[in-house]
């Protein structure tokens, strides 16, 4: 059974890898400019903030919760930096304040979920509305721009070779998140808490503390991503980053992380990010509208689970009996 699960896991990530390969090859042949290195950097850079938050969201979902407030925290942190700048606070200080506020937002969510025991969907939905509201409270109907040159340059110009800062930050965070989730004690706790919170409690795991930490992390990372977004866009409004949450959750789920917690791997999530971004870029370069892009990604999301399931069902019907269990819902293998 373990080997079975392992096979399934490999199959899921293998599937994503195959999809990615097909996208890259087909688009590479059919769409001029796609394989251009600058384009490859562009396609990552254009969604790098989402990709960064995807990493944190993976922890939240693995631990059996959900955080819908991330996009609002991103917006709030970006707005906060700008608002503080207007009040004469240096941007450097503003960034630190934004990160702190992000952590507070996360802890606030975590408090109601982990300590009081409210469903995270309800709590973070309130956060989605409330934190966005706080951002609106600060900027109202204005747009704030005019940041120091160094700040804009960090967000908009390549820093090292052709790579902008955000890309390098993402690379570092990626490695960090992978190590943290797959190899650290904290990651182990996240899986355990998501898989069976009661077993965790009966094993002396501080479930509350783990959940609080996961939410705090989600808050800080979102705030950080918000600052990066601000640097890239050079201006901020009350609506900045609005609606990002669905894209982010989509990427996590396509990566094979179960919405019920306790399963999924960082490798799957990374592949999922690459699949979504490459697909979207390839379609855009082929002059597909945003509408078509959304539709194709929606269909991919369904088909990537549906088709293997149907194949497995057909195979089990043809071959010997056995369970028609969903084939590719990946489970956690030997951790």
């Amino acid at each position: 059974m373990a080997r079975d699960i392992f096979r399934r896991l490999v199959r899921w990530e293998g599937l994503l890898l195959a999809i990615l390969a097909v996208i890259v090859v087909v688009t590479g042949i059919a769409v001029p400019g796609y394989l251009n290195p600058q384009n490859q950097i562009n396609l990552l850079e254009l969604s790098i903030e989402k990709a960064i938050v995807v990493l944190a969201m993976t922890f939240v979902i693995v631990s059996g919760e959900i955080d819908l407030s991330i996009a609002s925290v991103m917006g709030l942190s970006a707005v906060l930096v700008a608002w503080l700048k207007e009040q004469g606070v240096p941007v450097e200080v503003g960034i630190i304040a934004a990160l702190l506020v992000g952590a507070l937002c996360g802890l606030f969510n975590g408090y109601w979920v982990a300590v009081i025991g409210l469903p995270s969907l309800a709590v973070t939905l309130a956060g989605l509305i409330g934190y966005r509201g706080a951002a609106l409270l600060l900027v109202g109907d204005r747009s704030i721009g005019g940041f120091p040159e160094w700040f804009n340059r960090l967000g908009q110009q390549p820093l090292l070779g052709p790579f902008p800062l955000a890309l390098m930050v993402f690379a570092v965070l990626l490695v960090g998140a992978t190590v943290l989730l797959q190899f650290s004690g904290f990651g182990r706790y996240a899986y355990v808490v998501g898989s069976s919170p009661e077993v965790a409690r009966f094993s002396g795991v501080r479930v509350r503390r783990v959940k609080l930490a996961v939410f705090a992390m989600s808050g800080v990372v979102s705030a950080f991503a918000g600052v990066l977004l601000l640097a890239r866009l050079g201006a901020v409004r009350g609506s900045t980053a609005e609606g990002f949450e669905l894209d982010i959750i989509t990427m996590v789920l396509l990566g094979g992380v179960s919405i019920f917690g306790g399963s999924g791997t960082m490798a799957g999530v990374i592949l999922s990010i690459l699949v979504v971004l490459n697909l979207r870029n390839g379609l855009a370069l082929a002059n597909a509208t945003g509408n078509t892009q959304a539709g194709v990604i929606g269909a991919l999301l369904i088909l990537s689970v549906l088709v293997p399931n149907l194949v497995a069902a057909a195979r089990s019907r043809l071959g010997r009996g056995g369970s028609a269990e969903a084939a590719v819902i990946p489970k956690l293998s030997d951790l």
């Binding site: 819908l68 409210l118 309800a122 939905l125 309130a126 989605l128 509305i129 509201g133 929606g298 689970v305």
Partner: protein, 353 residues
């Protein structure tokens, strides 16, 4: 009081705590907003609520089975647009036909979700996140950038939201509200008294056990999605009736409002427990908060969302606290009863001896 406590367990009256919170909210705003307790406010809020409530009923059915339907907003938009276009093209179409088409189309879209989830074994979040996008795409492509305008719609449809079914002095009860209320009552009865309804609870409570017990899990889940779609279709029809102008963004974001209503209404997002009445109470609470905030002179347009987020959180939290307290009181009352009964029994035993 104790008699009541003995017969009714707190879970059965959990909606009452929401009603209590709702009353508190209304009482608060009545002190803050001049002319708040007017029938006009009631008419405004109740009519707006009708659409969310109908969609929330469908969502409840799905959530009870430990699934979720995120495609609702797109279904509402797509149906509203499609039926609107149809009516604009054939003005002679009778009202029941339009009504039926809306429900049938919603049902078909829901059935697609149902097939993918129940028979294709795709997790509901994944499946309906996908169809959320796909149905919206269909709407944009279908529309050819044309808007359904009130002008093109038949008169009976335009008059519908202005009609009063019951008119007592200033109180107008709109047909939309009555329809929504009927839907709520019917489905509450379905959940309480039909075997199908009870099975939905069973499936969400323990899917494995449901399979072992021989319940038609796949079929029931499929039907839940179908109903959710059909009710979203009905909501789409109401949307068309109420707003008349239907663009490609119609109903966008509605799914979050509906999920919020259901969760605030005490339906367990992991299935197995909850009620339609609860979902209605949740929808009402959120709607009343929203509508009251935009009527509150003391609060600027920019502060409303910040307050709304906080109030929703407080509502959910106090619901939990009140319910927990009730449960404790109930358990204690029960225990006292039992002890008393035991004492009486013992006494009788000694007398008998």
């Amino acid at each position: 009081m104790t008699l009541l406590l003995r017969r009714v367990r707190p879970e059965q009256v959990r909606e009452l705590t929401l009603v209590f919170i709702l009353v508190a909210v209304v009482a608060f705003f009545a002190t803050q907003i001049p002319n708040y307790l007017a029938w006009q406010t009631f008419t405004d809020i109740s009519t707006g609520l009708a659409i969310i409530a109908v969609a929330a009923v469908g969502q409840t059915l799905v959530v009870l089975t430990r699934n979720i339907d995120l495609s609702i907003g797109s279904v509402v938009g797509l149906v509203a647009y499609f039926v609107g276009t149809l009516l604009a093209g054939t003005p002679g179409m009778p009202a029941p036909a339009a009504f039926g088409i809306a429900i049938a189309m919603g049902g078909a879209l829901g059935a697609v979700n149902g097939v993918i989830v129940a028979f294709g074994r795709v997790p509901a979040v994944v499946a309906t996140l996908g169809t959320l996008a796909i149905y919206r795409v269909a709407l944009v492509e279908l529309s050819g950038a044309k808007t359904v305008t009130t002008d093109s719609l038949p008169a009976w449809l335009l008059n519908l939201p202005r009609m009063s079914v019951v008119s007592l002095g200033q109180l107008d009860v709109r047909p939309l509200v009555l329809l929504a209320l009927a839907v709520v009552i019917v489905f509450q009865l379905v959940l309480s008294y039909l075997p199908y309804g009870r099975r939905l609870f069973a499936i969400g409570s323990n899917p494995d056990a449901a399979r072992v017990a021989g319940l038609p899990v796949e079929r029931d889940v499929f039907v839940a999605f179908l109903l959710s779609g059909a009710l979203a279709g009905l909501a789409g029809f109401l949307f068309l009736v109420r707003f008349g102008n239907i663009t490609v963004v119609a109903g966008q974001g509605l799914e979050l409002q509906v999920v919020a209503a259901v969760v605030v209404g005490g339906v367990n997002i992991f299935g197995g427990s909850g009620s339609i009445v609860g979902a209605l109470a949740g929808a009402t609470l959120i709607n009343v908060l929203q509508q009251s905030l935009i009527r509150w002179p003391a609060v600027s347009a920019f502060a409303q969302d910040a307050i709304l987020g906080l109030l929703i959180l407080l509502a959910v939290a106090s619901d939990k606290v009140i319910l927990g307290r009730l449960r404790t009181i109930w358990v204690q009352a029960r225990r006292r009863d039992e002890e008393r009964a035991a004492a009486t029994a013992a006494e009788q035993a000694t007398h008998g001896a």
